[in-house]
Assembly symmetry: C2
DNA sequence: CATGATCGTTGACTTAGGTCAACCAATTCC
DNA sequence: GGAATTGGTTGACCTAAGTCAACGATCATG
């Protein structure tokens, strides 16, 4: 559309605030003020530490104290002193509290499911939501170390493999490639980093330890989050991890069918080198000396 | 992504509520309570009729009455009795009020512009926002008659022509086609209908009057709003308009490169007929008898 | 062990926002 | 022309939510 972009964004804002005034007002519909519902939700989402909850909700301590007291009176929450520091408190959900949280989630999930069900192209809708959400939250993406065999990592890797299969003329079969041993990508040999936006994985990179050099493997960014600087952040974090592990030489292999990757390495201090392995897929090789 | 769709929608909701808690809180930042800012905005957006404003904001009449009084005291609004019905009132923005609305808009537009500026693919972001907004507001799309020479219509038509140019192997040049005279698509000969979602045009259709038969022309639906049933609603509205104009025979031409259009006509009571004009572009022709 | 900082609690207060009923004035209906 | 209806105003009242200051209880530090 050639319409005024600002007008389109305004319409988007009105649409989502009108609707998430319904989606989020799953927070209503259970006869409890919004503040209490949010507090309840925060306990199940951010854990039991009262100070953490307060920071997450950005609430005044007097307000949170009263909210917790009200939830306690309802029998949804148990309050106990932190065993390590008796000034601090911990809020734990009772079984009734857990049930209440589940009921809220069900309300909100039903609305989400309805939206998906009535849409002709749910995949396109979800992809669009991912793109918008990523644009809004780029600056709140965390890069965290994660087990390369965990669910999040497996999701990233399977997306990565699927993308290679699409981009390589000859396809991609991971069993033909030098699949790095997961143990080599865990402490103390290496690491596996995931870019997490509000719990959803948007990208990953592996640092595989070795004797003469370490390798960067499996750099991937979700389509919805591309060109937002995530790959650079992932690479920086991987390099930092390598330094703290005492690694001094990094290598990586890639493919000329992935020009954005090649361009990234060329502009971030990597130097082209000759082939250093016999993996059938890569045709471009880089090295970086860590000072 | 193969992740849980519900989790993705949850993330989307959190992202937009956290952010439009910033986008919409352009409503804040001018030292006025949200209610007054919303009222002010509604006057400029929905016109001066107090009852209309109340319906649009879904406000209690006592609340709106007080809000208007406060805005009047600030010198932003003038209240006057409706000349046609002295029980009703009208709220008009003073120059100061207009300036205040402009200031709010500028705040919100700046945030939108920032979002666009820092995004690597603004077109993709806008398209995604359109898709999401359309999915959320399908049931609030109005079909309204509109001047085929107006801005909204011109936007729809240029998108329509651009789409034909993409879809036809030989391209599309409107000057080679039988471009319907705009007058034939206005009352009392015919009509031109636009599907409007919160002011943004998502589709159109023209009803072109004639002596022996009327023609359906220029049926178009925006990519972001396809397969949501809009084309059927547009066609139904065009047919209804034809009936009230006393038209008994409808014809249309289309192209086999537009299979979804052909399918629509085949399933909504149209019958294939032979070519009835010498336009170079169409190769499929339909007719419908209105009883 | 004394001092100061930290954490949560409590009471007093404020603001935004909304409900409800009574009311007046204008209009519509019979 | 009188009765009923409608649109807006006003006062009394309520809840959610947040601010502020004072205050124990606890912990960290010199």
């Amino acid at each position: 559309m050639s319409l005024d972009p600002i007008a389109r964004i305004r319409r988007f804002n009105r649409a989502v605030t009108a609707q998430t005034g319904a989606l989020d007002h799953s927070f209503l519909g259970r006869g409890r003020p919004l503040g209490l519902a949010r507090t309840l939700h925060a306990i199940s989402h951010f854990g039991q530490d009262v100070a953490t909850i307060r920071a997450a909700l950005d609430l005044d301590k007097a307000v949170l104290s009263r909210n917790l007291k009200a939830l306690q009176a309802e029998g949804l929450v148990e309050l106990a002193a932190d065993p390590a520091d008796a000034r601090r408190k911990q809020a734990r959900l009772t079984p009734a509290g857990l049930a209440e949280v589940a009921a809220y989630d069900a309300l909100s999930d039903d609305q989400a499911q309805t939206l998906l069900n009535r849409h002709p192209r749910p995949d396109a809708l979800l992809a669009a939501m991912d793109l918008v959400a990523s644009a809004l939250t780029v600056d709140r993406v965390d890069i965290v170390a994660h087990d390369p065999r965990g669910d999040l990592a497996r999701h990233c890797l399977s997306e990565y493999y699927a993308e290679l299969a699409r981009r390589f003329d000859q396809g991609f079969d991971v069993t033909l490639s030098r699949d790095p041993d997961a143990a080599a990508m865990t402490h103390p040999h290496g690491t596996f980093l995931i870019a997490l936006s509000d719990g959803l994985p948007l990208g990953c990179v592996g640092l595989k330890g070795g004797t003469d050099y370490a390798e960067i493997k499996r750099l991937w960014v979700a389509p919805a989050a591309r060109r937002l600087g995530l790959s650079r952040r992932l690479m920086d974090a991987a390099e930092a991890a390598a330094r703290t592990l005492g690694i001094t030489l990094l290598r990586l292999d890639t493919n000329s069918a992935l020009p954005e990757a090649v361009a990234l390495y060329q502009t971030t201090g990597w130097t082209r080198i000759n082939r250093y392995n016999d993996d059938p897929y890569p045709d471009v090789f880089f090295e970086k000396q860590l000072k």
